[in-house]
């Protein structure tokens, strides 16, 4: 991975509390796994920044090395890698994702 990709990712996940690296955009996901995580985040009511890796080859390769994780999507909360689609789905169903967001001090919309 180039240092530039590493620095860009680092800056992005530091500046934004919740970042989802995904295929497509939150409005038009281009992969079922990415769509599923967008759906969960929307349901939980947490604002997040979506980064479309399909539009950026450097980030698409870089993010896999960054987290030592071979697939997209990847969710980051407060700079920490939380998981991909399976883990986020499991955490959501167990209520753990909501607790993690609350513990991390990320505001979610009330009543979601």
């Amino acid at each position: 991975m180039t240092d530039i990709a590493h620095d860009r990712i680092k800056a992005e996940i530091t500046e934004n509390a919740v970042v989802l690296y995904m295929k497509g955009t939150p409005v038009f996901p281009q992969c079922g796994f990415s769509a599923r995580v967008v759906q969960i985040l929307t349901h939980v009511g947490v604002p997040f920044k979506g980064v479309n890796v399909l539009a950026d080859a450097e980030i698409r390769d870089g993010i896999k090395n960054f987290s030592n994780w071979p697939t997209i999507p990847q969710l980051y909360v407060k700079g920490e890698f939380v998981g991909g689609c399976d883990i986020i789905s499991e955490m959501f169903q167990a209520g753990e994702l909501q607790s993690l967001l609350a513990e991390s001090g990320v505001e979610v919309k009330a009543g979601a």
């Binding site: 796994f33 030592n68 994780w69 697939t71 998981g83 399976d86 883990i87 499991e90």
Partner: protein, 77 residues
């Protein structure tokens, strides 16, 4: 660009000999699988680390030869 379920199981078991591996071919196309892996090695470590161990066992095939592997990992009760 497809993999045999038996091949996936063998790779996981070579890294985690005690693992109980269940693999389901979701679409019948040899490309979309769901796997459940239960191993003592997962005790006390995060889900991310558990999945990373399985991905490492697949030696780079995940995201390449293997497009989709829905993964569920746990330690035995």
């Amino acid at each position: 660009m497809a993999m045999d379920a038996a091949e996936i199981e063998a790779l996981i078991k070579s890294a985690l000999p005690d693992a109980i591996v269940t693999i389901e071919d979701l679409a019948g196309d040899g490309d979309h699988y769901a796997a459940t892996v239960v191993s003592g090695a997962f005790k006390g470590i995060s889900r991310v680390k558990q999945h990373q161990i399985v991905y490492a066992a697949l030696q780079g095939r995940m995201g390449g030869a293997l497009h989709a592997l829905a993964l569920q990992t746990s330690a035995p009760d």
